[in-house]
Symmetry: C2
Subunit: 222 residues, 2 copies
Amino acid sequence: MDPVRIIEVKESVLGDNNKKAEELRASLKKDKTFLVNLMSSPGSGKTSTILRTIEHLRDEFKIGILEADIDSAVDAEKIQAVDIPVVQLHTGGMCHLDAGMTETGLNELNAPAYDLVFLENIGNLVCPAEFDTGAVCNMMILSVPEGDDKPLKYPLMFSTTDVLLVNKIDYLQLSDFDMEAMKKRVYNLNPSIQIFEVSAKTGEGFGAWAEWLRIEIRKWLT
Amino acid sequence: MDPVRIIEVKESVLGDNNKKAEELRASLKKDKTFLVNLMSSPGSGKTSTILRTIEHLRDEFKIGILEADIDSAVDAEKIQAVDIPVVQLHTGGMCHLDAGMTETGLNELNAPAYDLVFLENIGNLVCPAEFDTGAVCNMMILSVPEGDDKPLKYPLMFSTTDVLLVNKIDYLQLSDFDMEAMKKRVYNLNPSIQIFEVSAKTGEGFGAWAEWLRIEIRKWLT
């Protein structure tokens, strides 16, 4: 296997991130590329969720991936192993991505060649919520073992995301996670959010999520 | 139940955090207070680990708790429910605590009245590792569902901590978590780290961890 491409990215010190993000979204529209910014805590299953989603959509859409981490390339190697183009971004200790860092990654990937690009953000429920990356869709994962109280503690993340995947539902049998209480907390913060219950380990629930994403991508590409 | 005391804390804009942290540690030594800075991802079990540790040590030591969150007081309420003094710190969106914020919390709690204070930091594996809070002991939790690859992705956190609790070992039966591989990755970063395997849900492993902490506290108090 070829070594993963690793790019060092740095926070933009000048300029307005919101303006940069709007410009990036306009380019993505022109180039017909649907960019998903995927955020979650460390270890909630971002990479395995991307891998399951690839299985459902790779026959219809050209897919590329940006993996952001402080260090290592273990996630990018998992993507490369299923023959999907991937670039690993290293943030040099930074806890989030901004629009400039995202643009650097998209250029390196040659994003206009793809219909769908996933940007796997740094595992963190705080900082990534504060920076618009320029993505078309903000997506987050909450995994069952993290607990149903997370919307109370990290409200900005749940407020700024378009879609929430509740992952690791295969752990519900060992957990006191209250799905309805969690959803109520999320809808209080964000009434228009889409929520899907899934298990990236077993594949359960991915049909409904992939169908929703398929429709969103088609809207963007036409 | 009385309402939880909630204090808004702000990052120090002036001065040297490392110097401030050293001064705070010197005061803690003089006042005979052992301060533990507890860090982890969101939902890895910081509050339930503190509650289990309280059960083991409350007859020997006077214990007080500082709970830091961006929002809510759900964790502080759980501590208060077992009759342990607690102050809730709200960071106004900040992703970590610095030594000045910690000092504000300690003053509000009246820390010299306690032998042992836990500071539950913001749930985040990135930012809290970068700021010395002035604590005597840095402690982190990694929970089994987060995966055994986390030391590769968040090396600074694993490098700067004195003790690691591997929590939720009751989930090992459903997981492919490789305990030995994880430990090898951690020892590569931090050869002198102490590691304990625990389940805050069942109480398993808390005897050994509490015994280690008991010895460390006694060393500090004499």
